[in-house]
C-alpha cells in the first residue's frame, strides 16, 4: 500500500503521457501514411499503452481519499453524476463535432475519427474508474473484514484480465467466456451489498433513484457510442482491452441498477425507517441533554415534544408531579384536561399506564363530549419517585397501538433516568460546595488556634491540637493580663462539624470580651473576672444561642507568676493533671463544676467553684480534652486518666515539650490502627524557678 502511495504523484502524468502514446500508436497503426517511411506498426505497443493507461487511471482513482463523508450517500452520488455526466456530454459532443467536421472536410475524416475514438476510450476508462471506486465506498460501507478481502481479490482478478491480451494474444473463446462469466458473477455478488440504502430518508431515496438513473444513462451513452463505432468501417484499430473494460462496465452498471431497484423497493417502507430513526434520534437528544447539564424543565419539554412527534398525537399534555414545575399543554385546553384527569381519578386510573382506543364507546368519556377517539396515558416514575404523567390523544379511534405504548415506555424511562441523573449531578455539586465551605471553615478555625505560645522565663508551655474532622470542637487560647498574669482557656464543644466550630469561635469571642479590664473596678482584684465569675457570665451568654442538647466544657486558669500561684475553675471539663514537685507526687485536681449550657439560668453559679493553688518551681500542669483519655485501642479500651497519670510520673522531670512528645508517642502507640473518634488537644505547662528580673 505504501508503494502505491509513493506512486500516487506520478500516476496522473503517466496516464496523460500514455494516453498521448496511445493516440500516437493508434494514428500510426491506422494511418501509416501520416509518417512516411515507417513500416506498419505491430499491435503490442498500442495494447501496452492502453494497459498502462488504464492501470494508471484505476490506481490513481484507487488512491484518492475516501469519497464517502459520514453518511452523505446522496452527496457521493451527486458528485459522481457530475463527473460521468460531464464525460458523457463531452463524448457525445466530440462525436457530433467529428460528424460535423467529417461532412465539411471529408479528407480528414478517418484521422479525426481515430482521435475522437481514442479520446472517448480515455474518457470511458476515467468514467469506469470513478464509478467503480465510488461503488467501492458503498460496498465497503460498514463491511466485514471478509468482504474487504473479497473486494481486493476482485480488483486483483480484474487487473489480471488487463494482462491477458498482452500475453495470450488470442485467448480461446471458451477460456475467455469462463473468465468473463466468473468475474461477472463475482461482480454481481458484490453488487448485492447495498447496506447504505437503509440509511436514506424518504427524500434522499427519491433523490438517489434519480441520480442512479442519471449514472446509468451516462453509461448507456458511452455503450451506445462504442456499440455503434464497433461496426464502423472507419475503425481500423486493434481490439481494445475489452475484457477488462466490459467487466468494469458491467459491474458499474449492475451495481447502479441493483442499487436503483433496492432503493425503489425500499421507498414504500422509507416512512417506517424514518420514524424509527426519529425515535432513536429523540432518545439520543434526551440522553445528550443530561450530558449538557440542562435543567429538568428542558428535559420535560424535550420528552413532551419528542413523544408528540413520534406518536403523532393530535393533542397532549404533561402533568408534572414536582411542585413549581409548570404543566405542558399541546392543542389542549386546561379545563378539558382537568375533566379527563378527574374522570381517570374516579375510575382509579391515575398514574398508571392506560390505553383506550375507543373513547366514543366508553361511558365516562362519552359524557365529556370530547373530539378525541383514542387516549394513551404514560406515567413517569422510578422505583422510588413519581414524576408525573403524559396524556396523548388522537381524533380517530384505534389511533394508538402496542408499538406506541412501548416507545412511550422507553421515552418515559429515559426521561426519568435523565431527571434522576440531573438530580444526582445537582446533589453532588451541592456536596462539593459544602465540602468547599468546610475547607474554608477549617481554615478559619485554624487561624483561631494561637500560633505563638506565650514565652516567659517563669514557665514553659507546649501544645498539641488535632481535629478528627475538617472542623473540630476543641479549643484553647491564651491571654496576657496586666500584673504578670496569664489566662489559659481550654474547652470542648459537644458535637462536631460546622455548628461545633461556630460555638468554638463564639467561646473565643466570649473569652476575649470578658477578659477585658473593667474600668469601674474598685480594686485590683475586681479588674478581671475570677474564673468562676467568668464561667457564670459565659454560661449566661451561651444560654440563648446554644441548641438544646448542646453544651460546652471548659477550664479557665489564671496564672499569677509574680506571686507564684494560680486560680482555676472547671466547667465540666476534664480534670487537671498535676505534678507537685515538693511532694514528688502526680495527682488530679478533682474539683466539682458543671458544664456550660446545661443549666441556663442564674442557679448555674452555684455549681462552679474556684480552686487556688500556690505552685512551686518544677511543678507540671497537664491540661487536655476528652479526645486524649477516650482514645481507644484495638480491644476498645480507653486510654484513661490512670495511664495519663503514669505517663507524667515517668516524664515530669523533662521539658514541657518533651513531656508532651512522650505522652503523644504513648497515645499513638496505644491507639495504633484505630480511627480517631474525637479531637485531641494537649497542653503541658511547666513552672520554673523564679529568676530575678534584669535591672532589679
Amino acid at each position: 500500500m505504501s508503494f502505491l502511495r509513493k506512486l500516487h504523484p506520478f500516476l496522473f502524468p503517466v496516464s496523460l503521457l500514455t494516453w498521448f502514446g496511445l493516440l500516437a500508436c493508434t494514428l500510426l497503426y491506422a494511418h501509416p501514411q501520416l509518417l512516411p517511411g515507417t513500416s506498419p506498426q505491430p499491435n503490442w505497443p498500442m495494447l501496452v499503452m492502453q494497459a498502462v493507461f488504464t492501470a494508471a487511471v484505476f490506481i490513481h482513482e484507487r488512491s484518492m481519499p475516501e469519497r464517502l463523508r459520514g453518511l452523505d450517500f446522496v452527496g457521493l452520488l451527486r458528485r459522481l453524476v457530475l463527473g460521468p455526466g460531464l464525460l458523457a456530454t463531452v463524448c457525445m459532443g466530440l462525436h457530433l463535432l467529428q460528424q460535423l467536421i467529417a461532412t465539411t472536410l471529408p479528407e480528414t475524416r478517418s484521422v479525426l475519427f481515430s482521435v475522437v475514438y481514442t479520446a472517448n476510450v480515455g474518457l470511458f476508462v476515467v468514467l469506469l474508474a470513478r464509478t467503480n471506486y465510488a461503488w467501492r465506498s458503498l460496498v465497503l460501507f460498514r463491511a466485514s473484514a471478509r468482504l474487504r478481502q473479497q473486494w481486493v481479490w476482485f480488483e486483483v482478478l480484474l487487473g489480471i484480465t488487463l494482462l491477458i491480451h498482452l500475453f495470450a494474444r488470442t485467448p480461446t473463446w471458451g477460456f475467455n467466456t469462463a473468465i468473463f462469466g466468473a468475474l461477472a458473477a463475482f461482480g454481481a455478488y458484490l453488487s448485492s451489498h447495498q447496506k447504505w440504502v437503509a440509511y436514506l430518508s424518504r427524500r434522499q431515496k427519491i433523490e438517489a433513484v434519480l441520480l442512479q438513473i442519471a449514472i446509468i444513462l451516462a453509461m448507456a451513452a458511452f455503450t451506445a457510442y462504442f456499440l455503434q463505432t464497433q461496426h464502423d468501417p472507419q475503425l481500423i484499430a486493434p481490439p481494445t482491452q475489452h475484457t477488462f473494460l466490459v467487466l468494469n462496465a458491467f459491474f458499474a452498471g449492475f451495481y447502479a441498477l441493483m442499487g436503483l431497484l433496492i432503493t425503489l423497493f425500499n421507498l414504500p417502507t422509507a416512512g417506517v425507517f424514518e420514524q424509527k430513526r426519529e425515535e432513536i434520534l429523540s432518545l439520543q437528544r434526551l440522553t445528550q441533554l443530561i450530558q449538557r447539564g440542562q435543567t429538568t424543565e428542558e428535559v420535560y419539554r424535550m420528552f413532551f415534544d419528542s413523544a408528540i412527534q413520534t406518536v403523532e398525537a393530535d393533542a397532549a399534555w404533561l402533568d408534572i408531579a414536582v411542585d413549581g414545575e409548570p404543566h405542558l399543554y399541546h392543542h389542549m385546553q386546561p379545563e378539558r384536561a382537568q375533566a379527563i384527569r378527574n374522570l381517570l381519578a374516579d375510575y382509579n386510573l391515575s398514574h398508571i399506564e392506560y390505553l383506550n382506543n375507543d373513547l366514543f364507546n366508553s361511558a365516562g368519556f362519552r359524557g365529556l363530549n370530547l373530539p378525541f377517539g383514542s387516549l394513551i396515558v404514560m406515567p413517569l416514575h422510578s422505583s422510588k419517585n413519581q414524576y408525573g404523567s403524559i396524556y396523548m390523544l388522537k381524533e380517530h379511534p384505534q389511533g394508538f397501538d402496542r408499538e406506541n405504548l412501548s416507545i412511550l415506555q422507553t421515552f418515559a424511562s429515559q426521561t426519568v433516568l435523565s431527571i434522576e441523573n440531573l438530580q444526582l449531578v445537582q446533589a453532588s455539586m451541592h456536596t462539593q460546595r459544602v465540602q468547599d465551605e468546610l475547607k474554608i471553615a477549617s481554615a478559619v478555625q485554624d487561624s483561631l488556634i494561637p500560633k505563638n505560645l506565650p514565652i516567659d522565663n517563669w514557665f514553659e508551655i507546649s501544645s498539641h491540637a488535632l481535629a478528627a474532622t475538617e472542623v473540630g470542637g476543641d479549643f484553647y487560647d491564651f491571654l496576657h493580663l496586666p500584673g504578670r498574669r496569664l489566662a489559659v482557656l481550654i474547652g470542648d464543644v459537644s458535637g462536631k462539624g460546622v455548628t461545633a466550630a461556630f460555638h468554638v469561635a463564639q467561646m473565643k469571642g466570649i473569652f476575649h470580651a470578658l477578659m477585658q479590664e473593667n474600668p469601674l473596678a474598685r480594686n485590683e482584684r475586681e479588674k478581671f473576672p475570677v474564673p468562676s465569675k467568668f464561667m457564670a457570665q459565659a454560661n449566661n451568654a451561651l444560654a440563648r444561642c446554644l441548641e438544646k442538647a448542646a453544651f460546652i466544657t471548659a477550664s479557665l486558669y489564671i496564672i499569677d507568676y509574680e506571686h507564684g500561684g494560680f486560680v482555676f475553675a472547671r466547667a465540666g471539663h476534664c480534670h487537671t493533671l498535676y505534678y507537685h514537685s515538693i511532694k514528688e507526687e502526680v495527682s488530679y485536681f478533682r474539683t466539682a463544676g458543671l458544664g456550660l449550657g446545661i443549666i441556663r439560668n442564674d442557679t448555674y453559679e452555684k455549681h462552679i467553684k474556684n480552686q487556688f493553688y500556690d505552685y512551686n518551681p518544677s511543678d507540671v500542669m497537664v491540661i487536655y480534652t476528652d479526645g486524649i483519655v477516650e482514645a481507644r485501642n484495638g480491644a476498645q479500651e480507653e486510654y484513661g486518666e490512670e495511664r495519663l497519670q503514669q505517663m507524667l510520673e515517668r516524664t515530669y522531670y523533662l521539658d514541657a515539650e518533651q513531656i508532651k512528645e512522650q505522652i503523644l508517642t504513648d497515645l499513638t502507640e496505644f491507639s495504633k490502627g484505630q480511627p480517631m473518634h474525637d479531637d485531641q488537644t494537649l497542653l503541658v505547662i511547666k513552672f520554673k524557678a523564679s529568676q530575678p528580673e534584669a535591672g532589679l
Binding site: A549, T553, G572, A592, L594, I598, H607, E638
Partner: protein, 109 residues
Amino acid sequence: MKITQHATESTLTLSLDGELDASSSVLLDTELSKPEILRNQKVLIDCRQLNYISSAGLGVFISHLQSFQDAGVKLVFFNMQEKVHNVFEILGLDSLMTIVPSEAEAEAI
C-alpha cells in the same frame, strides 16, 4: 444500642444496652420525646449494659432535664458502670441528676 422498656403503673424503666453515641442517641431522644412519658412519676434508666456514653448521649439527657423537672417526673439512673459514672461526674451532672447504685434504691426514691 438497644433500648428495652418496662412499664408499671407509675414507673417507666428504660434499659440501655450498648454504646450511646451520636447515632444511637437519636433513638433515645425519640423515646424521651414521647409526650406520654411525662405521665409517669418516675423514669428509671438502667445503665448496667451501658458501656459508653458520648457527649451527644449526655446531650439527650440534658435536653430533657428541664421538661422532666417542670412536669415533676423524677429521672433516676442506676446500675451505672464506673467508667460511665466518671463521665457524668466530670461534667458535673451527678449534682443535677439522681444516680443510685441499685434498682431497689431507685425504686425507693
